[in-house]
Amino acid sequence: MSANLTTLAYLPTIIAFILALKFLSSPKHARLGNQLGAVGMALAIVVTLAQKHIYGLGYAIIAVGGVIGGAIGWIGARKVKMTDMPQMVALFNGVGGGAVALVALIEFHEKAGLPGRMLANESVAIIISALIGSISFAGSMIAFGKLQGLVSDRPIVWRGQRVGNIIILLVGITAGAIILGGHDLQLIWLLLIEIAAALAFGVLFVLPIGGADMPVVISLLNACTGISASAAGFELRQDVLIVSGMLVGSSGSLLTLMMCRAMNRSLGNVIFGAFGQIQAGGAEAASAEDKSVRATTAEDVATMLAYAHKVIIVPGYGLAVAQAQHDVRQLADLLTARGVNVEYAIHPVAGRMPGHMNVLLAEANVPYTQLKEMDEINSEFPQTDVSLVIGANDVVNPAARSDQSSPIYGMPILDVDKSKAVVVLKRSMNPGFAGIENHLFYEPETSMLFGDAKDSIIKLIAAVKAA
């Protein structure tokens, strides 16, 4: 295929990706959108393979690498449990960034050192894609490790962290900038230093970020990989990469900002680990106070629920961990059959990903109409008889409204403490993923039902049937 024909043949791919993004934005066509994206991608791969200059052994390596990677991706995507979806997204995002960095490395190796071989705009593109791709790879792997439990999910902080991170990033950028000085400075070890510094920075900037911020980090790194793929398009002179990469870069950036807005925090505040630092000082002081909680039994809770007019279920990560979504639905159906008005309050950052709870409850066929977003349902809590908090913590912590010293101060929360009674299903008194003490548990109208969420709900179902 000639170069012009190839460029033309990539156009349907670009159209497919744009439509895919559009369709992914509406529940009705979302699945079609994703399938359209996959078709566009398949087309781009076929068109690329039809390039006439690819040599025989090259095809073999492409095929073997593609089959191995494809099998890993397929098995990973099919075998993963619903609860582990977020880390799979982090993982697949990271490998994309890694591929971008490797492409930049070879492109540099092929063209470097000879006068006139590498144009200025191409060298800038190589340096940017190697830098951002490497950061995205290393950062995503740490995000994966944190969510998978391989790396501590608590913020890891140390002295001089912020300054150290900035210095490491500057080392990487400087190494890259030197390469731009001329063809005799196009040295492979300078690029390797840049990549090493970027990898270190990727690890170090995610480590101090706590689990509560992981959705934002994954979204940010997703946008980064998109931008790095776009830069790869500038180095390979391929418009299809420039456009597709940047579509992800810009839409991913917007999504990241939407998520920050939901937590009422700035992006800079998330990235530079301020969360972790405030928290390191504040948490112990709060937990030192001697307070008591009221434990309750499934039978008591069942009676409260069965004779209530209005019940709001507040799901959180604990629900996902316990895989209790089907049981929750059964409980809700049972209550609805008794004439109780049951609704679900969905906090935008409940769980480990935005929309995590929606996906989980959709799996259990909970009707959309019962899922209420935060702004919609907050005014309803004062008229609610029982709020049933299942494995949610930080998103219902009233400290976000009242305690200025709290690291989550200012984050919009679900006002469950305004309802007439609150029942919290929780495994133990350990603080939530963000490691912050929750005053809701000590309120007089709150009672705690300890145990695994699934076991507790099964007991509730039995007790409601008996009530």
Binding site: L24, I62, G65, G69, V95, S250
Partner: protein, 96 residues
């Protein structure tokens, strides 16, 4: 104006348009679809597989073969895993 400059300016134009287009098409996405959207865009940046194929297929030397192989593995895991995981999430919305 050299041909490189002309091509580069066209590339920049396309880049700028893509930035605004990306923001425009997802500006009205409901919270419900944030996770699948993130996952779906994650699959789309797997387009780097085009770059991986090109550098592997066009550089007939040991480094190109070894590094190209790993680039292929990573990029195809991104593509296949990305679309498959998104499809699994969206499967659960069907029929409603």
């Amino acid at each position: 104006m050299s041909s490189n400059t002309a091509v580069f300016l066209a590339e920049l134009t396309v880049l700028i348009l893509a930035i605004f287009l990306g923001i425009e098409v997802i500006s009205k996405v409901p919270t419900l679809l944030h996770t699948p959207l993130m996952s779906g865009t994650n699959a789309i940046h797997g387009i780097v597989i085009v770059g991986a194929i090109l550098i592997t297929g066009l550089n007939d030397n040991l480094l190109g073969q070894i590094v190209g192989f790993f680039a292929m593995v990573l990029a195809s895991a991104n593509v296949v895993g990305g679309f498959a995981v998104t499809d699994r999430m969206l499967e659960m919305f069907k029929g409603k």
